[in-house]
Subunit: 255 residues, 2 copies
């Protein structure tokens, strides 16, 4: 593979639950040493990049905030590029603060967008009702991601997808999704390295959003057998990764 | 029209907000006097039939609980007829008590069905997450109704539909809907009078769930221009009611 740049998923690739994947740190050191350049792309929308960086630090993974890309950055970029920067957010306070720091105005009326992330416990009937009314008043629907669920420490947790779907059904409007597998999301991370898809690879545990999304853009796709990996999923979705490796630790088999 | 039996919608036909439609009481008296037999069918799933009856009483409308049919009764009938009577309910405490009184066991694990009504403020992330996990463990999804929203006193309110859709998206399962426009729901109310669809009419304000649902079963459909009635809706959905009248008070123009 003629690859110089890498996008690396975080949850399920570098860690699972609250434990780093064995050899993850060494693998990153190896790639750095070999001259590869990389960024980290996560569909996490509960935490700001700063919080993600701090959380990773606690597991011994040193990844600066500036190397992390989340759907929140893509959403801010999307809104700013259209000159419409007023939004109502269904999301955690952590995410609200980060959105503001990106130059987006948060409000509860007269907004351009209703932005939906994985708000977790912050989802309430009243909040969904407010969001619904804003959509009827003319706001557009922007989904940070449309994932169905993720594996948390206490078991499966609903992600933003079900709530986005609820608002689509209620309002009759369709959401624009900015997180993986949206091509703009991968492009945003690649652009920060001046990288082209043809000289880049994505390393992820989700055959659809990671591998499918990246390969649709012309990137190589490297699937790891950790995190949410299920062997059947490859056949089910009909996407053939460029490589499948046991974990990020096995990256030196390829590079 | 060779009609002896009537099914009458409540919300939007007999009252709007917290006010009875002018002449509603007189119209019911007139129909009674003329020998028509009738039942009341509502898609309301926040309140028990007892609470609905009490609420109507406060507006001067005397309608005994036994004449009211709601999706809750249809759900209990559905579960009992299949010999599977354990369910987990997403709904109000009022509805939970009524479901128990119908011989249904409510539990939070090892259930046959997840039953979803319009829980209002009782919808929470934790509750939706619990319901989702039960669906993954094998429970079936039963929707009391799949309405998008309704007009409350404080403005538009999300109904059960968006939450049913959220759970369908998360679990990959499809809901069985037991409220209007399901034919079983109309049949349940007709059976209580030993009435056949061909000798019955439905009076409602919703062109789809009331008129469309009833006419699909072979009943006549009488649309009132009160409640959620919108003239455009008739053309939009392509259903032609048997009659359209200004309000329930104009029922003597037909009968």
């Amino acid at each position: 593979m003629n690859i110089t740049y890498l996008l690396i998923d975080i949850d399920g690739v570098l860690y699972v639950g609250d434990t780093a994947i064995t050899g993850a740190n060494d693998a990153l050191g190896y790639l750095r040493e070999k001259g590869y350049r990389f960024r980290f792309v996560s569909n996490t929308t509960r935490k700001s990049r700063k919080s993600i960086s701090t959380y990773l630090m606690g597991m011994g993974l040193v990844i600066p905030e500036s190397m992390i890309f989340t759907p929140l950055l893509a959403a801010a970029d999307y809104m700013k590029s259209r000159g419409r920067t007023r939004c109502h957010l269904l999301g955690t306070p952590d995410i609200a603060a980060e959105l503001r720091s990106q130059g987006i105005t948060l409000d509860s009326g007269d907004v351009d967008y209703v932005v939906v992330g994985d708000a977790g416990d912050a989802f309430s009937y009243e909040q969904l009702n407010d969001a619904f009314r804003l959509l009827l008043e003319g706001a557009m629907l922007l989904a940070l991601e449309k994932d169905r669920y993720w594996m948390g420490q206490g078991g499966l947790q609903l992600s933003a997808g079900p709530f986005v779907t609820a608002l689509e059904y209620a309002s009759g409007k369709f959401a624009q999704v900015v997180g993986k597998p949206a091509p703009q999301f991968f492009r945003l991370a690649l652009d920060s390295m001046d990288a082209l898809p043809g000289e880049s690879a994505m390393i992820g545990d989700d055959i659809t959003t990671d591998i499918g999304g990246a390969m649709a853009l012309g990137m190589k796709g490297i699937l790891v057998r950790t995190g949410k990996f299920r062997p059947e999923a490859i056949a089910e979705v009909g996407i053939k990764p460029t490589h499948v490796i046991d974990s990020i630790a096995a990256i030196r088999e390829i590079f």
